[in-house]
Amino acid sequence: MIFAILVLSGAGGEIAISYAMKQIGEVHCFTPRALFAVFKRAVRLSWLWVGVALIGTGFFSMLMLLSWENVSFVVPSTALSYAVGALGAKFFLGETVNNIRWIGVLLVCIGVALVWLG
């Protein structure tokens, strides 16, 4: 149960944050002043807070799991959210996911499953 919350809130939160940052647009300047200006714009976007809330939920679920399982088990298991994330990026963010990228995502998922089962 905690594991399901961890995966779903992780992927959903990252997609919401990605949507918010795309509204801001590409950051070109990395001076502290410019980064602060980007930060001020970002915190006014409600999708950023939706994402932060979902990722926060995932984070505390992970802290709980980490207190009774090994890091080399818990952390790789959360990577199931990559499959959900790639689908979300295609359908919610309108990104082009070509065949090579799908194969890459698939290999990452198999790799994660093996790390998990191993």
């Binding site: 990252e14 795309k22 300047c29 090994n70 990577a79 963010l93 995502v105 093996l114």
Partner: protein, 144 residues
């Protein structure tokens, strides 16, 4: 250097920062939580005790600072790069974390787990061969 090359270089530099601090943060948090011990009860006083011990733990704080660095780089890279590019590329940390667990926490990795680490490397290599941004970008540079 072309704008595309600059953009690609920015993506890779921030991905390296993300992968390094993300992995380090997870391992430090795990180490900190192990120092605190297993959560035995769910009563408010037991949870408050765990919360107090967590806040007092220096390793946890180092982990949180590492994860904050990860998060800022993550926000910046997502302002131009595809989520479906950044997300699998950052999965490199899922290959690095077991290796760090093996090296720093003396956790045992089976051959199957090592194979998984190899497949993740291969998957990330393939994703890195695809265009890092496929959606329309807007200018976000604030005039100085």
């Amino acid at each position: 250097m072309s704008a595309l090359k600059v953009s690609q270089m920015k993506t890779y530099v921030l991905l390296v920062v993300m992968i390094f601090f993300g992995s380090l943060g997870d391992v430090l948090l795990s180490k900190g939580m192990k120092q605190i011990g297993e959560i035995s009860g769910w009563s408010p006083s037991a949870l408050a005790g765990v919360g107090a011990k967590t806040i007092m733990n220096g390793t946890i704080w180092l982990g949180v600072i590492s994860l904050l660095t990860f998060f800022v780089s993550y926000l910046l890279v997502l302002s131009w790069a595809d989520y479906s590019f950044v997300s699998p590329a950052s999965s490199m940390s899922y290959a690095i974390v077991p290796v760090l667990g093996y090296l720093m926490l003396d956790e045992v990795l089976s051959p199957l787990r090592w194979m998984g680490v190899g497949l993740i490397f291969l998957g990330v290599l393939l994703v890195s061969r695809t265009p890092h941004s496929t959606t329309v970008k807007e200018e976000a540079c604030v005039p100085q």
